[in-house]
Symmetry: C2
Subunit: 215 residues, 2 copies
DNA sequence: TAACTTCAGTGACTCTTATCACAGAGGGAT
DNA sequence: ATCCCTCTGTGATAAGAGTCACTGAAGTTA
């Protein structure tokens, strides 16, 4: 097991109280994951809560029939709310977490995470805040799927991608189609239209984003 | 203000500890709402958490552009997770809560609800459990919107309606269309198809459900 | 009973998205 | 250069869902 950089934890999770931090450092394990690696896969039992120290993760959900869609990005300083939820019920996960960039995660054993809810006020605030934030995001996603056309959703997707990882969106049309639950051809066509407005420029394997507000 | 029936509260919320129950009875207000009435409307500031003592409520969400869709039914013994969430941020609600049947709700002032999170372990368990449950339901809804056709969603909708209020679904096609974000004609046609399978019988203003599993 | 109002059924048409089929284009690897 | 493989572009076609226009049916009210 590697030593956990206390400085970093302190910096990324400033709201957590001191005694909790000590326990956190003592009891949790540090894991490094490389770009594209899976942090957690669908079907496993969830035994830890995930705290993200560095890097960027992507959280997917998979339903009974194998359909999958992205729920949200997880940035450093956040916890995976889904892992906390499932944890509680001792269920198999229906979620998949993948590293978008190289990343460091802190794995907190589930039983401790539960215990701390009662023991540390800052922890339970942290957990509740996480729930709320994800809930809100989920509602956003729901809104957009329920009410918007694919064109708007694509725009929304590109925006969120730019926000977390810059103006070179390194994705193939196929990958985008998968995440939006559509098909490549359709995405290609929509992207083409976007290119014609001047908002983006298409390349092989990546998209150069100029300005998505003009559309 | 009416007196709150302690027996009922005790029965519907058995997990709450005794001292909390006393405070709850002392500090919250009881409100009776008639069938069809709005308990909370979109755009108001949320100043209380809603606990449902008796009856059935329906929780909708409304987005910026005025689109609305049903999030879940709330049965006696449950709390409205949405009201707890919004509460925390002192935001205007984007939710609308309507009584499906006559109902009695307990309104807990927001600041108390927040305070109790730290003070009563059973309260924070209760709150966290509510979040989890709603989160799960929301994911269900998301799945079905993202991956299912309207026919399956209609089926799902009818099932959930039957579960909470019996085999006579007292809704017009128009109402169903609204809640599924579709249009009356389309719903009419789908219902007609369902009728032809023998699963339901259509009437004016209500639908008689025989067996939805056979479809 | 007659007039009115709300619900439900149906055909014709349009729009969006999905699917199929295929043609290039861009970049390795040999 | 040549071969190969993945990614992208495009037309044709089809399915699902929304819209429009209109008819009839069931209740309600006067």
């Amino acid at each position: 097991m590697q030593t956990i950089p206390k400085e970093l934890v302190l910096k990324k999770f400033p709201t957590l109280e001191d005694s909790l931090l000590d326990e956190l450092l003592a009891e949790s394990t540090l894991k490094e994951v490389g770009e594209g690696e899976e942090v957690m896969r669908s079907g496993q039992y969830i035994t830890s809560t995930i705290l993200l120290l560095r890097g960027l993760l992507k959280v997917y959900r998979e339903d009974d029939e194998g359909n999958e869609f992205m729920m949200y990005y997880l940035e450093a300083g956040n916890a995976c709310a889904m892992s906390m939820m499932c944890t509680a019920r001792n269920e198999k996960s229906q979620i998949m977490v993948k590293a978008v960039t190289d990343a460091e995660v802190l794995l907190v054993p589930s039983h401790l995470s539960e215990l701390w809810l009662g023991k540390y006020k800052t922890w339970h605030n942290f957990v509740i805040a996480s729930y709320r934030q994800r809930f809100e995001e989920l509602l956003q996603t729901l809104d957009s799927i329920a009410f918007k056309g694919l064109d708007e959703r694509l725009l929304f997707y590109l925006k969120s991608h730019v926000k977390v990882s810059g103006n070179e969106v390194k994705l193939s049309h196929q990958q985008i189609a998968n995440e939006l639950n559509s098909s490549r051809e359709v995405i290609s066509r929509l992207l083409k239209k976007l290119e014609q407005t001047g908002a983006i420029t298409l390349h092989r394997n990546y998209i150069e984003v100029h300005d998505l507000t003009i559309v």
